[in-house]
């Protein structure tokens, strides 16, 4: 009888019985009652045959929870292995989620964010799309195309020092127009959005910058002096020229500091109208109507609400078709709109407007995180299956007492979820360390992550933990819930057969992944060491490089040469192998040959000697005087490229520069040396040295001195006398070269730590399995020992299975890692040799680690006194 009907029907029956008692004898009344009772067997009234589940759900979940917690507490080692492994992997995943969450919040404050597009350029020859466009694009979009509601531009160029009442501060920013505030929703603390960028020489600064420069004074209407030093807007000191006076600017607005997260980073915006004057004075190139220059301007457009990105792309196609009717600037040149929301996180771009972690990097990091997470989940699965032998009786009993498969599945899921929630707590703690380690990477000097995390991110973490719980518990739940109670309760060995197979496969795949990572990180490390110990072909010892910071080289060199300890001085336009360098297209004057790409390095006459470069033929560059700058020194590779038989043949030859009518004469040939960045190209590239004092940016000092620090102090004293504004920036050449591999160093650190985690997790898994198996075999080993087996015999017996696993992993992963790593390595210039040695080293490390993991178990089990293991039965 259904419970909710019971009282009523019982009452009814009682009443009917009482009535029939009055009418009939007790016996008849009872008989009637029995018949009535029998007639109550109706489908509507009786309980479901299957039972009603809603009634005791809560109780069962309580029971699952209790059993789960007890299991975790009972097998502390296994629980720890599971929780720790999962926590480590989760913390890595969470770090990436934090990074993504931070980037996702970027540019969310703009009111028109759904309709704002950045225009980007692509062409067949561009490896990456360009984030920048031609300067006149914004104006054309706004005036000629009605679907564009508004368009604004950010033109590069503000980078120098501002001076206010004797206080000098570095400033970086863009030229922009009044539409800027219509496209983006930056609020002004002071000033009028509509007019602040209309007048020439108007400047809008950020609130934080205003605080530093004006120290509490009201900035509006204040006049500052701007000196241009062509500093890069990205914050890396690029081209560094003599300061040029750009005149006076009036502060017309202050952008409120409302914690904006945006991909736009600037200290100041200067009105585009200012540029007219600067063009007139030839202080900045006039690109106002230049459709052929693409690296100076960023264009942003707002579409009308009814238009889509396709409309925008049609418009852009039309512009390309009309503006470049005769000839496209590059083969396959096209422009397209990139939605504001897709900029950060977004794909890797050339000429970026700010440094962002490109989406590709997230893919790679996420891939690593997923691999680690999978390893941890495999651990859980593996240990759960191993323990299924002990759990089988429980499952059998549950089933016999009415538990259905669904219930067992629920039970195992609740257990795995409890484990992952514990892991979540641990992971949040671990995250503090992981975050710290990550923030210490070199790359974070340029990318400002805010990894604080919000409530919603933490909610995502919880959902993530639940999800991982389900993934980890998936196989055990489905597998173990399928046990047939009779088989399990009668003789479990029946159900055991074949289960070892899947466990082995899981172990093998874990170790294969680990080995892959080990080999990769050894290779990366070797490559890094190869870079650090690289033979550049020039002398770096005792050389200090000093940034000229737009000062006059002749004064600087004169002053520095008086410092005791300085033995030689030279100047150059970029530090070799720093990744900088100008390209020049040259060919033999008057010939029909194709132009050859040269890298131009502007140096003085002391450079070749100072760096210990070897002249093969001809003479050194002449000292700088009028007319000396058309003499060049080229390297041997260039000699070959130009088609000369020998170095001597090239001396005195005249080369012409493309698009410049300039004529250069070769007066010397030097041996090849590494001047391109190591990961860019090997030394097979053409180079020309040329003496052009205006291009000097660095001073190379050879210092031979007993006390280096004293010399540097003396140099700094001199510097302060020459340039009181800018700080003295110096670097030891050899250290400077090493620091050029910072990015590669980051890659090695990341892959290295991922490898470490992978190994730790796999070894923990192996440890768990070995503890379990040896425990299971205690009796067997006891009997073997009683029958006369020796310690080594037993040790071999126990470890044989694991060694086989490790060997299988090596067999699979060693060739795989060799081929996979060769794929990227082949495209790498200046690569380290990679062969059987590295792979064998990795395999050896894996085997040693694997054996170290199980050795304690094996020793303890081999040495155990058989009396102890066989005593109690």
């Amino acid at each position: 009888m259904k419970k909710e009907y019971l009282e009523e029907i019982e009452g009814d029956m009682e009443e009917v019985f009482q009535e029939s008692l009055e009418a009939h004898s007790v016996r008849k009344a009872k008989r009637i009652y029995t018949f009535e009772a029998l007639k109550l067997f109706r489908p509507v009234l009786i309980k479901n045959l299957v039972g009603d589940y809603r009634l005791n759900n809560y109780g069962m979940f309580k029971n699952y929870f209790k059993v789960g917690v007890r299991n975790i507490l009972k097998y502390k080692t296994f629980s720890f292995i599971n929780v720790f492994g999962l926590a480590v992997a989760m913390s890595v995943c969470m770090l990436i989620m934090l990074m993504l969450a931070d980037q996702k919040q970027s540019d969310q404050f703009h009111v028109k964010k759904e309709r704002v597009y950045r225009i980007i350029c692509t062409a067949d020859d561009y490896v990456l799309p360009w984030a920048s466009t031609a300067v006149p694009l914004a104006g054309t979009l706004k005036t000629d195309y009605p679907i564009i509601e508004e368009a604004t531009q950010l033109i590069k160029g503000i980078g120098g020092d501002v001076n206010y009442k004797g206080k000098t501060m570095e400033i970086r920013g863009f030229f922009s127009d009044p539409a800027f505030f219509n496209v983006f929703s930056f609020e002004l603390e002071k000033g009028d959005k509509n007019t602040c960028l209309t007048m020439p020489n108007a400047m809008v600064i950020t609130s934080s910058y205003a605080k530093l420069l004006f120290k509490g004074e009201d900035p509006i209407g204040k006049i500052v002096q701007l000196e241009d030093r062509r500093l890069d807007h990205l914050g890396i000191d690029g081209e560094d020229i003599r300061p040029v006076d750009w005149g006076q600017y009036t502060i017309t607005g202050v952008i409120a500091d409302l914690g904006y997260k945006s991909h736009l980073k600037f200290d100041a915006l200067v009105s585009v109208a200012t540029m007219k004057g600067l063009h007139r004075e030839k202080k900045t190139p006039n690109l106002t109507d230049n459709w052929w220059n693409f690296d100076h301007c960023y264009t942003y457009a707002v579409l009308k609400p009814e238009n889509t990105s396709e409309d925008l792309n049609t418009v852009l196609d039309h512009i390309v078709a009309t503006k470049y009717e005769d000839q496209k600037p590059e083969k396959g040149f096209e422009m397209e709109g990139q939605k504001l929301g897709n900029i950060s996180p977004g794909p890797f771009m050339s000429i970026p407007i700010s440094f962002r972690m490109p989406i590709e990097a997230y893919y790679i990091l996420s891939f690593f995180a997923v691999v680690i997470m999978l390893l941890a989940c495999l651990n859980y699965t593996n240990l759960s299956i191993a323990r299924s032998l002990t759990r089988a009786k429980e499952i059998g009993i549950r089933k016999v007492t009415g538990g259905k498969r669904k219930d067992i599945i629920y039970q195992f899921f609740s257990e795995s979820i409890i484990t992952t929630l514990l892991a979540l707590v641990m992971a949040v703690l671990l995250l503090l360390f992981v975050k710290e380690a990550f923030m210490n990477l070199w790359i974070n000097k340029y990318i400002n992550f805010n990894l604080e995390g919000t409530l919603s991110v933490y909610l995502v973490f919880i959902v993530f933990a639940l999800f991982i719980g389900i993934i980890a518990g998936f196989y055990p739940a489905l597998h173990m819930s399928g046990y047939r109670p009779i088989a399990v309760l009668k003789n479990f060995d029946m159900a055991r057969r074949g289960k070892l197979g899947i466990r082995k496969i899981l172990n093998i795949s874990q170790f294969s992944v680990s080995l892959f990572f080990i080999v990769t990180s050894i290779l990366l490390y070797n490559q890094l060491r190869h870079f650090l110990e690289f033979e550049y072909g020039f002398n770096t010892e005792n050389i200090i490089n000093i940034e000229l910071q737009s000062n006059d080289y002749s004064i600087v060199s004169h002053e520095f040469s008086t410092v005791p300890g300085v033995t030689a001085i030279s100047a150059c336009s970029f530090i070799p192998t720093s990744g900088h360098g100008e390209g020049r297209l040259l060919k033999i004057a008057g010939s029909e040959e194709e132009y050859q790409l040269f890298t131009a390095l502007q140096t003085d006459d002391g450079f070749i000697d100072n760096l210990g470069l070897k002249l093969v033929a001809g003479s050194n560059l002449p000292a700088s005087e009028n007319g000396s700058d058309h003499f060049i020194v080229i390297n041997e590779f260039a000699v070959k490229k130009l088609g000369y038989g020998s170095a001597a043949e090239a001396i005195g030859q005249v080369l012409e520069v493309k698009r410049g009518k300039e004529v250069l004469q070769v007066i010397g040939v030097i041996e090849d040396f590494q001047f391109k960045a190591l990961f860019e190209q090997d030394r097979n590239a053409s180079l020309l040295l040329r003496n052009q004092p205006v291009k000097y940016q660095h001073v190379n000092l050879r210092v031979v001195s007993g006390n280096l620090m004293n010399t540097i102090e003396a140099l700094e004293e001199k510097w302060k006398a020459i340039d009181p504004v800018h700080t003295f920036k110096y670097e030891f050449f050899d250290e400077q070269l090493d620091s050029m591999h910072s990015f590669f160093n980051d890659v090695v650190s990341i892959v290295g730590s991922i490898t470490f985690l992978a190994i730790v997790i796999s070894c923990l898994g192996l440890l768990g399995i070995s503890i379990y198996t040896t425990e299971r075999r205690t009796k067997e080993i006891g009997i073997r020992k009683v029958l006369g087996a020796g310690v080594f015999n037993v040790a071999f017996l126990v470890s044989r299975e694991f060694l086989r696993l490790l060997a299988m992993a090596v067999l699979i992963a060693a060739p795989a890692s060799f081929f996979a790593n060769n794929v990227w390595l082949q495209n790498f210039p200046n690569r380290v040799s990679f062969g059987i040695g590295t792979v064998s080293l990795g395999s050896a490390i894996l085997l040693v680690l694997g054996i170290l993991t199980i050795i304690t178990q094996i020793i303890s089990v081999s040495n155990r006194n058989p009396v102890e293991s066989l005593r109690d039965e």
């Binding site: 019982e10 009452g11 009814d12 009443e15 009535e19 007639k39 109550l40 109706r42």
Partner: protein
């Protein structure tokens, strides 16, 4: 009308519930119906009809008072829902309509 699915016996029980008002609980309904139909009914038949109609939404119920005669068990008092009233009226109308058209039909036949 189509989807009401009210059986003949159910309709009788439902009408009895409406008639009995506050007194409409299992045994009272049984007693009333036995008197009107002049036949014996089992507790089970009444109860299953009640439960089925409750599931279909014709009836609602709540516990009433307990009496000594019921061995301290509470009664369950049933009452018809507005939906039930509507369905009952509809059925009555349909029947009345049918009755109304019957003699006319016989008359028409005569003429032929």
């Amino acid at each position: 009308m189509k989807k009401t699915k009210l059986g003949e016996f159910e309709e009788l029980v439902l009408l009895t519930v409406v008639v009995l008002q506050e007194e409409a609980y299992g045994v009272e309904i049984k007693r009333e119906l036995e008197e009107r139909l002049n036949e014996r009914l089992s507790v089970g038949s009444i109860q299953s009809a009640l439960k089925r109609m409750e599931q279909k939404g014709f009836l609602t119920s709540e516990f009433g008072e307990a009496t000594k005669k019921r061995g301290g068990k509470r009664k369950r008092i049933y009452s018809a829902t507005p939906y039930a009233h509507r369905v009952l009226t509809e059925m009555k109308d349909v029947r009345a309509g049918l009755w109304a058209s019957m003699p006319k039909l016989a008359y028409d036949l005569k003429i032929i």
